[in-house]
Every structure is written in structure tokens, then in C-alpha cells.
């Protein structure tokens, strides 16, 4: 999508063919800066430190991380160790493990001499598939938004959470893809963007939407219940970090309370889910590891100071007791539908398996 009018993706291989560049998302929305990753360690650190974030983008970055690793050494041991290092960076998003498994499956039978080249190509294929899936998913979601607009005759009021935009993927985004496509198709939309403490990824969403010219309003996370209560929302549309075989959705913490409030007011709640986000091996959502992140994310915050430079300030003392779980589970029963690249389906094992029979068959529940 566009940044100040220039088309960008969130990750791209450098022309040298030996490095990959990303947008450092920890500096947004204040500063737009590109970082170039040259090694496996660079890629692992980019994921761990959340220079890149968002389940689909984490997966693609990990795939490129394998390619970077194999430039140094392409032995079986090097391949396996790279996978282990990258898998350890973040626990919750399943796309990371999905991408690593796909790279291993592709590369293991390839002779070591050809592995690096094959890895670069496979990472690029995964990236292109992500773009295509999001575009397809967006078109299916667009249909939902168009129907809402036709029913109400006014701008569709959409509530989202966190950032499931193009920054969270390679391009288009998941939850934001239908919104971008609807806006581009002339369907009036307005997006309620919850800031998404503690890391405020909602500010990335607001930044994306502003750059693309989509009307939106930033709110604190706690305001979502009131807006639903007042009838100011037509549909809730979020992304996902991992979806179980039964359609339960693990997404950024705070999603669950929005889903409860949406059900209370009979507002549709959709999760945008490209198929790599589905974990076909899990039926019990409580088996999904919920990442506990460092308390410093709650204790400190970065903003722009009086001299327009970036300043990091302390909100609560360092020794204050803090818990910082990053995700929660929205059970399928609260979800109107999953928007996938093959269409919209109800969240259940039967419907998901019918939509993706080859994937459902390939993996069995643990």
C-alpha cells in the first residue's frame, strides 16, 4: 500500500539477493524507517523485538530468515538450527511455525549447494501467496461491507483492534483488506480504531488508514463497549494470530471483550483469517500458548517530545508489579464468520474442513 503516495510492501528482498528489508514498526507512527536484515540473527531479532509483527508478516520474515541463514551455511544442521532459533522468537502466532515447516519440507530434499537459492525463491513465493490470499480475502470481506452499506444507506461503521493491516502482512492486510478494497470501490466506510495497549498497534492502523485516506477515529480500548452499546458500530472485524480447527480465534488481548459486547448488541463479529493462520492440530483453544510479554511494555511508553525527537518515558515505577499477557481467545460461538481467501464461513470444524479439505486432511489434531 502507499506511504506518502509511494507504494510499499512491509518486507522485500534487496536487489543484491543477499538481504531483505523491512519497515521498523517499533518507530511508527512517529518515524518511517527501513531496516535491512543480513543474517539469521538479524531476522530473529526483528521478530523478537517486534520490528516486524503481525502473524502473516512474522511467518514471511521467518521464511526469509531461513534464506539468510542458508547463505552462511546450508547443511542439514544449519537448516535445523535456523528453524529452532526462529521458532523461539514468538510463541503464539502459528504462521511462524507454519512458514518454518514449509521451508523445511521444501529444503530438506534439496542438495545443500542449491538450498540458499531455493530458500530465497520459496520465501518469495510465500510472500506472494500472502498478498494473493489477502487480496482474495479482502474481496470476500468487501461483499460483506457492501451488503452492510446497501442495508443502511450510509457509511459502514467498522470496529477493529490492534493492527491487521498491510503492516501485519506483506500487503493489503487481513482485517483491513476488505476495508481498503471497499474504500477503493467507493463504498463509504469509517473505522473505529482501538489503540491496543500496551504496544499501541492501533496507532499503526490509524497511520495506515490515514496514508490511504480511509476515514477513521482513534479510541481507547475501553471505549469499544460504549460504542457498541450506543449502536455506533455495524460490524467488528479483526485479525487472528492462531485459529483452532474448531474455529476459536486467538488474537490480540482485548479481542474477546469486544466479541462479547458485539454479541450483546447483535453486531456481527468477523475474523479475517488467511489459511496459514489456522492450526489444524489444535482443537482445544486453551492449548494455545499465550505469550506473556515484558512488563516494561506497560511501564514505559515512547512518544514525540517537545523537540520532535523520540522520548521514552516511565508511566509506573520499575518495581511496580505488572502482568502483560498479549493475546486472548474468542470462542467460535461468539464469531459470526471467518473471512478466508476462499470465502466466508461459519467458525466450525465442519465448515473450515469443507473450505480447506486438503489442509484439514493433512494435519490431525494432536
Amino acid at each position: 500500500m502507499r506511504v506518502s503516495g509511494t507504494p510499499y510492501r512491509s518486507i522485500w528482498p534487496e536487489a543484491s539477493g543477499a538481504a531483505v528489508s523491512i519497515i521498523d514498526q517499533t518507530l511508527l507512527p512517529h518515524t518511517f524507517a527501513v531496516r535491512t536484515l543480513h543474517t539469521l540473527a538479524d531476522a530473529a531479532e526483528a521478530i523478537r523485538a517486534m520490528h516486524v509483527r503481525g502473524a502473516p508478516l512474522i511467518g514471511v520474515t521467518a521464511a526469509y530468515g531461513i534464506a539468510l541463514a542458508l547463505q552462511d551455511s546450508a547443511t542439514d544442521v544449519a537448516l535445523e538450527r535456523a528453524g529452532i532459533d526462529l521458532a523461539a522468537t514468538r510463541p503464539t502466532a502459528v504462521n511462524l511455525r507454519w512458514a518454518l515447516e514449509r521451508m523445511r519440507t521444501k529444503l530438506a530434499p534439496v542438495p545443500a549447494t542449491a538450498r540458499a537459492a531455493t530458500a530465497w525463491i520459496e520465501a518469495a513465493v510465500i510472500a506472494e501467496e500472502d498478498v494473493a490470499a489477502n487480496r482474495a480475502l479482502g474481496a470476500h470481506g468487501l461483499t460483506l461491507l457492501r451488503e452492510l452499506h446497501e442495508r443502511t444507506g450510509r457509511a459502514v461503521q467498522i470496529m477493529t483492534h490492534c493492527n491487521a493491516g498491510w503492516l501485519a502482512t506483506v500487503d493489503y492486510g487481513t482485517a483491513l483488506a476488505p476495508i481498503y478494497l471497499a474504500h477503493d470501490a467507493g463504498i463509504p466506510v469509517h473505522v473505529w480504531v482501538s489503540e491496543t495497549r500496551p504496544r499501541n498497534q492501533g496507532l499503526l492502523t490509524a497511520w495506515e488508514l490515514r496514508e490511504h485516506g480511509v476515514p477513521h477515529t482513534l479510541i481507547v480500548d475501553s471505549a469499544c463497549g460504549l460504542l457498541l452499546q450506543r449502536g455506533q458500530v455495524d460490524v467488528v472485524l479483526v485479525g487472528a494470530d492462531r485459529v483452532t480447527r474448531l474455529g476459536d480465534v486467538c488474537n490480540k488481548v482485548g479481542t474477546y471483550m469486544k466479541a462479547l459486547a458485539a454479541r450483546e448488541h447483535a453486531i456481527s463479529f468477523y475474523a479475517a483469517v488467511p489459511s496459514p493462520t489456522i492450526d489444524w492440530t489444535i482443537t482445544d483453544a486453551s492449548a494455545i500458548p499465550i505469550e506473556d510479554r515484558a512488563g516494561v511494555e506497560v511501564r514505559r511508553i515512547a512518544g514525540i517530545g517537545a523537540d520532535r525527537g523520540r522520548v521514552d518515558v516511565e508511566l509506573v515505577p520499575e518495581n511496580a508489579a505488572v502482568a502483560n499477557p498479549a493475546f486472548d481467545i474468542t470462542p467460535a460461538a461468539l464469531i459470526t464468520g471467518l473471512v478466508t481467501e476462499r470465502g466466508v464461513c461459519a467458525p466450525s470444524e465442519a465448515t473450515l474442513s469443507a473450505m480447506f479439505p486438503e489442509l484439514a486432511k493433512a494435519k490431525v489434531p494432536a
Copy 2:
């Protein structure tokens, strides 16, 4: 309650008998600073700028504001104008209007020469009544916490929101009063404190609890659903800014989603409500004016910088579209009980009227 071991109230008349002092709550938890109010304008500004906040404390500050005004002029016109000025400072908390009406009723029949002295006394009486009500309310809430402890045999896990502690009242607090009394009685408690964006009054709660030695953990507002989902909460206990005749509770935005999540997991949800917080004239909660506060509260935040000085930073650009509603409504149907100074009752017109017959009779629904 104690600050670094020294007992404090949140507001107190100066020995001069011509001024009233408050703790500047906009500087907490970083800096503990006392401000002295000398005039009506000082009192109105203290409420408007939230140097004092919390429904009960707003009411008491307004009462002292009348006393300050009458020192300058005690005519009927001056009395009426002071009431109008103070009523305009904040729209949602009903205690403000309650206190002003009580002052007017008390002072109108008094000769102008005696009004200032009477006003000082009446404001002090209101303050003492607040302390007594909170202590009584706390004792009733303590019984609930004791029962929970006896049932589970471990520390009672309490979730609260915003600050309904002694800083929000004259002393003890509303939602925190039972917690302080339980802690002092040796009942083990642990409090989940949600930070309460955008003004982070949860940090005031964490500060209060730390000063008093009560175990607690700070979380972002969005984490509440997950904690309830995981069974890490035994009871939700919040304050209130206005309660309708039917027992619907208007409180800090975010309360409603916690109540929905509590019901979903069959966790008790109580609001601590001293009787001046009940608006007997309102039956339809949607008639309560929900304050829309300035977007700058979402756009900017203050913290402690590298040199330990207070720094104000920008989170999103000044021209970013922001909505900042400050309260929401938790319908009676989601509330297990209201903890009042006369006991705990179910939230309904019948039970509230039975608990406070003289108040229910004195005011009729509009």
C-alpha cells in the same frame, strides 16, 4: 489513608479557615503535591482540570467551592452563580449536583452574614459523611470478601477499574474501602488493577495500594477478559459516577465490557455506591450525559523522563481524529449487587427504595 506512613485525606480545610487543600492528582503517581484553593475559580478549575476527580471527591470539592465563593460575596446572586459555575465543570458524576443542591438548600434560608460560616461547616459535614459512608460501605463489602476467602481458602482475587480509592473520595474510597478493610483484617487479597486509559487512573489505584501495602498487579484494560476467561478473578468490584433509580451503573468507560465478561464466566460483579451517587430522578440510563473529553488525553501522555523530570509526549499527531467518551453504562442485569453504606442490595428500584426509603420518596423520576 497513609502516604509514606503519614495519614492523609484527599481534601482538607486549612487552619486559616479561609482555604482548602487538595492533592494534585494529575501529578500522581509521579509526584505527590498539595495545592491550596482560595477562591471559587480555584475550586472550579481543580474539578475541571481533574486535580481532584472521583464522584464523591468532586461533590465535596464543590461544597467547599461554595464556601470559598461566599467568603467573597454571600448574596443570593453570588450563591446561585457559584452553584452554576461549579455545576458546569463536569457533567456525568451526580455527586456534584447532589452536593450543590444540598449546599443551596442549607444556605438559602440563612442570612447572608452567616452564610460563609455555615457553608464551611456544611462542607465539612458532607466530607465527614463521605468518610463515614465509605467506612460503612467498606464493612459491608468486607463481609463479601471474607466469604470469598472462606470459600476458596486462598487470597481473594479482585478486579477493579479506574480509581475508586481514597483519592476518589475524602477517605477510604468506595470500591477500595472493602479491600483496605479486608487487608487490615488479615484477609489475604490481591487486586488486578486495570490502567484505565486514557488518564490512567489505575496508576492512582496502584499507588494507593502500594502505599497501604496491599498486593496488586497492574494490567492493561484489554487484559481483563483473558483473566476472567482463565479463572484468575473471584470478584469484580468497581465504583460508580451515577446510579439510576433502577440500579443501572454509569462508571468509567471500560466498566461495561468487564461486566459482560464477568457474567460470561459467572463471576460476581459489584459496584460500590454511597447513596449520594444514586440519581433518584433518572430511570432511563441513556439519559445520563456521557462526558466527551478532549482528544488530547488520548493523543498525549505524561511520564517520567531520563532526568526523572515529568515529560509530556505525543503518541499520535495533533490532527489525528480521536473520540474520548469517559463513561459507559453497566445495566443492572449484569450487576450482582450494589454495596452501599446501609448494606449490599440487588440493583433494582424495589431494593434500592427499600434500602433508602426517605431518599427514594424525596425525589421522583423526571
